[in-house]
Subunit: 311 residues, 3 copies
């Protein structure tokens, strides 16, 4: 029975057709929310957050509640059975009896994958270490679809920490599956995308990759500019962090070189990668992006619980 349950651990768990289906459903939910307000009545989503992530957790909770469902879980490993030395497999085998789907955030790469092998209910990866963060990718895609009308024939600039950023790796792998995508990758030399990932993408997909160390060198040509945070916790020492942090910052000045229909995205939270005065620019779509994160998660939950067709 277990192997007929659908999970989302890695973006590649979904076919392109499935990804499009979830995105289109999310766009439809955003247009007609009341039509979906009772879709998950009587269903429970379990949120197993082994590391804190307010934003991701609350966006899932909001999604489930807006579908008429309910939520239980924990937001911190300190309050969990982990402390008693229980295996993750055992925890999942118990908690899957308490709910109808599970979202797991875990500091250890592969934990959600392991969970999906034991769970009798759908498991959604809410981020595992530096590995995958597929619902952030779905959030990015639905926002692109909303404002660009399609996810193809796009020149996508991605700026910041491309070495450690899990949202970037998930996004790159998934965008590469769409048609006619060109990437402009902008980062300090120390934080370029991993060599193996670059090789994998070029070998597997019909994409192009250009690398830059300066945002100004490619901003005027981009359709989308995806800014990312340089996460302090990924650095080994503070000086290195402070030196690099300020290198890749979007300002109104830099933005003046860009296309008028550029779309600026950011997975948030930001530190200072985007100046506050950019927020006023109509090209800034990162807060809209956060809002679409709820709609696409509503779509995802409905899809995995197989209730999407009952709306």
């Amino acid at each position: 029975m277990n192997n007929t349950v659908k999970h989302l651990v890695d973006p590649n768990d979904f076919t392109l057709e499935e990804i499009n289906r979830v995105i289109d459903l999310g766009l439809n939910i955003q247009q007609n929310p009341s039509q979906y307000a009772r879709l998950c009545e009587g269903k429970i989503l379990g949120t197993l957050f082994y590391e804190p992530s307010t934003r991701t957790r609350l966006s899932f909770e909001s999604a489930m509640l807006r579908l008429g469902g309910k939520v239980l879980g924990f937001s911190d490993a300190n309050t969990s059975a982990v402390k008693k030395g229980e295996s993750l497999a055992d925890t999942v085998r118990v908690l899957d009896d308490y709910c109808d789907a599970l979202v797991m955030r875990h500091p250890m790469e592969g934990a959600p994958k392991l969970a999906s092998e034991y769970a009798t209910v759908p498991v959604i990866n809410g981020g595992d270490g530096g590995h995958q963060h597929p619902t952030q990718t779905l959030t990015d895609l639905i926002t692109i679809k909303k404002y660009k009308g399609q996810i193809s024939n796009l020149k996508i600039a991605i700026c910041g920490d491309l070495l450690f950023g899990r949202t970037v790796h998930s996004l790159l792998k998934t965008l590469s599956r769409f048609e006619n995508i060109s990437f402009y990758l902008i980062s300090p030399p120390e934080l370029k995308i991993p060599r193996h990932l670059k090789d994998y993408l070029l070998d597997s997909y019909n994409i192009s990759i250009s690398e830059f160390t300066d945002l100004e060198d490619c901003i005027e040509d981009a359709d989308i500019l995806y800014m990312t945070r340089i996460q302090k916790e990924r650095f080994l020492n503070e000086e290195e962090y402070i030196r690099l942090r300020d290198s890749y910052i979007l300002t109104r000045d830099k933005l003046s070189e860009a296309k008028t229909n550029l779309m600026v995205l950011h997975p948030l939270p930001r530190n200072n990668e985007i100046h506050y005065d950019v927020d006023e620019d109509p090209r800034a779509k990162y807060f809209e992006q956060a809002a679409f994160g709820v709609y696409v998660r509503m779509a995802l939950i409905s899809f995995l619980l197989e209730v999407a067709d009952h709306a």
Copy 2:
């Protein structure tokens, strides 16, 4: 659009007419709870507690659930995006997409005010540092209205820490707006109300203020005795705390001097400001007061979400 949204950050955000409307609605809810049990169906309240406050948080949660609404949030800054260095403005701009109203508790004065400037949904101040705590004030007022029939022509004794206690300052400022109020303020000399607050009240309103250092000197004349906790965390050293803590304690003995229709209130939690044997006295209304805190918050949420008229 933002500036048409109604917030409650400071008690003065509401006109006296609005305060009365919320209180009367709360009293009506208490009489006919089932009539209001679905008023907020499909709505979500976000509880952003940057410092723990079980009592305030749970009274809001209970209020929203009893209105048929749902709740999400966090109860501790450690599980929040704060740790990633995000600005409060950004947090609010994201979280207001996840819910229909926000309650914020924050150790920093002014944080809820700032939040209300960015939020697209109503923001309720659940307490900000030593500053304001307007829903405690509404709780106090609804209890007075319930048991005294009106909030006017009252002699109100307030005893304890009048220097740091935010509940007291909010209460003083709001009660002063009602008709014919006399205050008896009882405190150690070190913990008298701030001079600027006293001047402001006397200049702005038609009230009288008498100050005492001994509870026994005015208890027999009061209609209401509002006891407050001397908060350990407000003192710089433990000895000072221990010396003052025991000075202003209500006992059955002291109560024997009071009017038979006196009403004793306390915002709770108490330490030892009120002896346990006072609990049996019919004049003790502090537990009823806590219960009315839920009804008045139900009224407030309904009012801010503009669903109050649909009951």
Copy 3:
């Protein structure tokens, strides 16, 4: 009024007839969950967890949500009013206004009993120190009833830490009230059941108790084998823990000596008391047991809220 409210603090608070009623209701709920999906609509369960226990807390939350009710509470004493020095009695007198029933987990023995003396709503003991854990006992009983058809005429082996384990003491006391029960108690000499408990059981009930230091000496004769975790936190030093931990482990080898209709139970979480390869054996029922924990808690909540007959 208070004394007409029904609580579950100690398994002995319920008559045998009441225990059977709750168990049978739980079995019926498991068969027809949709019939009970709205039984607690409009009701709120408060979860007051003064020490973390993800499993117990979430099983209660799942139970209440599956009954159509709602949940509020805290999962950690750090976020509670405790820190402000408030008495438990005061906390309960306030929080019972926020909800329709309370579950309390507390590190201090007797805390839920005290709470039940002040609460105006039903109080359920979710575990108090090394004392009682009555809903685990109900979970054990419903699982036995489900798979054995009755709770009588059984030879029940209980293995592990019998000195400190609160689940074992609750279980022993309650099983003794059923007909024709024989206990095989297997433990290291240092962790035998307390003398006073053994004397009490033999004096009060028509049972037999045989004690063993080796699991192999009685496994072939048992109808039920109840394994327990040796809790690290109960030991004074680590070496003692490590020496004993490995002594009482169930393996496939040992299981090969047992009856084919043996039922292996465990309150979970386990460390290594049961080898993972035992999980595949059809006699392993501990994960089913965890699932039945939700059904019996649904039954218990319905019973205490007096809505059970409205299904």
